[in-house]
C-alpha cells in the first residue's frame, strides 16, 4: 500500500464522518447498507474503537418537493430493508429539540427522513484501525511514497513508478480519490471525474447539546457534535476544479448562515478551524469501482463528498474485484462502462447535500 502523504491524510482524515445507508436506488442502497452493517461490527472486528455512534441522521424537508422526494426515499429504503422513517415537524423537534421548526422561518421545516441506525464514526480511528489490521495481515504500508507513473506492457499493468523507485506488481488498484484523474492520466485514459474542494469546519468544544446528525439540502448544511464537543459542520463543494485542499470563504459563510437559520442558538458560538479536502465527483453522484482499459489495473473512486460511510463496504467489494478480476454483484452497477451504456445510478437526491 503506497501513500504519498500519511495514513488518513486524504479525505478520510478530513471528512465530517457521517455514516448512513438511506440511498434511493437499489444498487446504492445494497452497497451502502453492506457498509453500514460492517461498520456496526467494525470496532470488534478491528479490535480498535472506531467510535461508531448510531445516534440517528435526519434529512430535513423544507418544501413540498422535498417532502415528496423524501417520502419516496423512505419507501424505497424500506423495500430494500434499510431502516427509514418519515417524521412530521413536531417529531423532528422531539428528536432534536434545539432545531427551529417555527412555520414563519424563512425555510420552514416541513418534516424529515430519519435513519436511526445512521450516525457518525471517528474518521482517524477508522483509518488507523484498518491500517493496523492490514499491517497485522502482512501488508507493507509505505508512507511518503508517491506513485509517479504506471508501467504498462502491451495493455497490461506490470508495476508502478514511485518517488522511491519502481515496484513490480501483477495487479494494481488505485484508490486516490481527488487524484484519480492524475493516476488514470498516467495510464493514458480519461475518467468522468472532476476534482473540487469540499470544506468543513468545527466550532470550539461545547457541552453536549446536539444529540443527532441533521442534514438539510435546501438551506444546505449538515451538522453533528463530536464526542469532544465540537460542532462538526459541512455543506457543498466549491464550484471550481481544484487540487489545492482549500476553498473560498463565501462557502463557509453560506453554511454558517444556513446553520443559524436552523439552529438560532448557535449564533454566538465561535468556529475553531476550517479545512478542505479534494473530492472526486462523478456526473451521477455515484462511485466507480471498476476494471479499466488497462488489464489488471482497477480503480475505486468517484466517492466525491460521501465515501467515508462506504469505506468498509467499498474496501470489501474492491478487494473482491481485484482478486477475481470481476466486480462483485454489489459493485457490478458501478463500472466505468455505465457512462457509455447510459445505465447511470443518479443519486443526486440522496447524496444531494453534497454528501
Amino acid at each position: 500500500m503506497l501513500e504519498k502523504g500519511w495514513i488518513g491524510g486524504g479525505n478520510t482524515g478530513r471528512n465530517t464522518t457521517i455514516v448512513r445507508s438511506n440511498y434511493l436506488f437499489d444498487e446504492s442502497a445494497h452497497l451502502y447498507e453492506k457498509s453500514l452493517q460492517l461498520f456496526e461490527q467494525l470496532s470488534q472486528e478491528l479490535n480498535y474503537n472506531v467510535m461508531m455512534s448510531q445516534r440517528g441522521v435526519m434529512n430535513l424537508a423544507h418544501n413540498l418537493h422535498d417532502v415528496r422526494e423524501s417520502k419516496r426515499r423512505v419507501f424505497a429504503n424500506k423495500l430494500n430493508g434499510v431502516d427509514a422513517e418519515w417524521l412530521e415537524p413536531e417529531e423532528v423537534k422531539a428528536f432534536c429539540p434545539i432545531i427551529d421548526i417555527s412555520p414563519d422561518a424563512r425555510y420552514p421545516v416541513m418534516g424529515a427522513t430519519l435513519q436511526k441506525r445512521a450516525g457518525v464514526a471517528r474518521h482517524d480511528a477508522v483509518a488507523w484501525g484498518f491500517a493496523r489490521g492490514a499491517d497485522a495481515r502482512g501488508v507493507d504500508i509505505i508512507q511518503n511514497c508517491e506513485v509517479t507513473g504506471l508501467r504498462i506492457d502491451n495493455g497490461r499493468i506490470v508495476g508502478v513508478e514511485t518517488t522511491k523507485g519502481f515496484i513490480g506488481a501483477k495487479k494494481v488498484g488505485s484508490v486516490a480519490a481527488g487524484h484519480t484523474s492524475v493516476i488514470c492520466g498516467m495510464a493514458g485514459f480519461r475518467v468522468p471525474l472532476t476534482s473540487h474542494p469540499l470544506q468543513a469546519l468545527v466550532s470550539e468544544p461545547i457541552k453536549p447539546i446536539h444529540p443527532c446528525v441533521v442534514m438539510s439540502n435546501a438551506v444546505h448544511v449538515y451538522v453533528s457534535q463530536s464526542d469532544k464537543g465540537e460542532l462538526v459542520i459541512g455543506a457543498g463543494i466549491d464550484a471550481y476544479n481544484s487540487y489545492a485542499q482549500r476553498g473560498s470563504f463565501h462557502i463557509i459563510e453560506g453554511q454558517m448562515g444556513a446553520l443559524r437559520e436552523l439552529f438560532p442558538i448557535f449564533s454566538r458560538l465561535r468556529m475553531m478551524r476550517s479545512w478542505g479536502g479534494i473530492v472526486d465527483t462523478t456526473p451521477d453522484a455515484s462511485c466507480i469501482m471498476s476494471k479499466t482499459p488497462v488489464e489488471n489495473f482497477f480503480i475505486n473512486c468517484g466517492w466525491g463528498t460521501g465515501g467515508f460511510k462506504a469505506t468498509p463496504g467499498s474496501g470489501w467489494a474492491f478487494a473482491y474485484t481485484i482478486a477475481k478480476g470481476e466486480p462483485h454483484p454489489l459493485n457490478a452497477a458501478f463500472t466505468l462502462d455505465r457512462f457509455t451504456t447510459g445505465a447511470l445510478v443518479d443519486e443526486h437526491g440522496a447524496a444531494g447535500v453534497a454528501h
Binding site: 461490527q41 470496532s43 470488534q44 480498535y48 469532544k228 470563504f249 442558538i265
Partner: protein
Amino acid sequence: MSGSMRLPGGGRIDRSRPLKFTFNGKGYTGYEGDTLASALIANGVHLIARSMKYHRPRGLMTAGSDEPNGMVQLATGARTEPNIKATQIPLYDGLVASSVNVFPSVEFDISAVNGLLSPFMTAGFYYKTFMPSQAFWDKVAEPVIRKAAGFGKAPTEPDPDVYDHKYVHCDVMVVGAGPAGLSAARAAAATGARVILADEQAEFGGSLLTLNREIDGKPSADWVRSTVNELAGHEEVTLLKRTTVAGLYDQNYMVALEQRIDDLTPSSPANPRMRVWHIRAKEVILAAGSHERPLVFADNDRPGHHAGRRGADLHEPLRGAAMQEAGCSSPTTTGPMRRRVPSRRTAPM
C-alpha cells in the same frame, strides 16, 4: 475588594473609574482598561478553569489571543458565550463570568480524579478501550465520554443581537498595529494609498503598549500616539481596532471580524455588535508580531506559571506578587527585571 494585588500606579488602567464584576458568583472590582484576566489577577484569583481531559487546574498563561487556558463562560441567558479568553475580554461594569468545564466548582472538581488515572488515559486511550461490545459503547461509554467533553455551554435561546458584514477594497492592508504595522501603514498612507490597518487589541501599539522604547527620538508611547493621529487624519485610511483578521485567501482576499460592542449595550442595525469585513487588498502586510513559545517543564500549565514576556504584560501593575514566568522568545524577561531588557531596534520595516 478593589484588588489586593494591585500596585498603586502604572499599567494601562484608569484608577478613577472602578468597575464591578462577578466571577463564579463572587463580586470583585476592577478598573476601566482592565481585561477580565488582569482584573482577576489583581483580585488574587488565579484558578480560572479546568483542563479538558483530566480537569487539571488552569490559570492564565498569557495576556492576549494566544491564551490557551483562561477560558470562561461570559454573560448569562441569551447573551452567554462559551470559551471566551479572559485575556480578550475588556472589563465592563456588571460583567458576569464563570469557569467552564467544572462540576460542582472550579476549586473542587469531581472529574479531577481523572488526573490520577492519567497513566491509563494516554493520548488516544479511547481507541483501545470501552468496546467490549457495540452496545456497551452506545449505551454506557459514549454517553459518559460525551458528558465529560466540551468546555463551555451554548446559549439555549436565540441571539438577540444584530450583526452585519461589509465588502471593501484597499491598496494596502496592514495586519497588526505594533511598531512594524504602524510604520508600514504610515509609509503607505503617505503615498496617498487607500490603507486599512487592523489590530485585535482595543488600542493600537502592539508590543509598545507595554514596552517603553525610543523611536525617532521620542518615547515610544508618544510615537504611537502621533502616528495613530497622523493616520487618522488621512481620508483614505481606515483604522480598525478590536478587529481580528481571521483568514487570508486567494488573490489577497481577507476576512476580519470587528468586535464593536463588548458590554451588554443592545445592538441594532445601525450599531451592530460585530461586523465581518470582507477585504480585497492589492498588497498585504502581515505585521502581527510573534507569539511566545512556552518553556517545556513538568506542570508548566499550572496556575501561577506565565509565559515570560506576555505574563509580564499582564502583571504590569502587580510586581512583587508571587509568580513564575518562563519563556523563550527574544525579549523575555520577568516583570521585575524589565528595566534590564536590552533595547531592541523597533520600527523595522
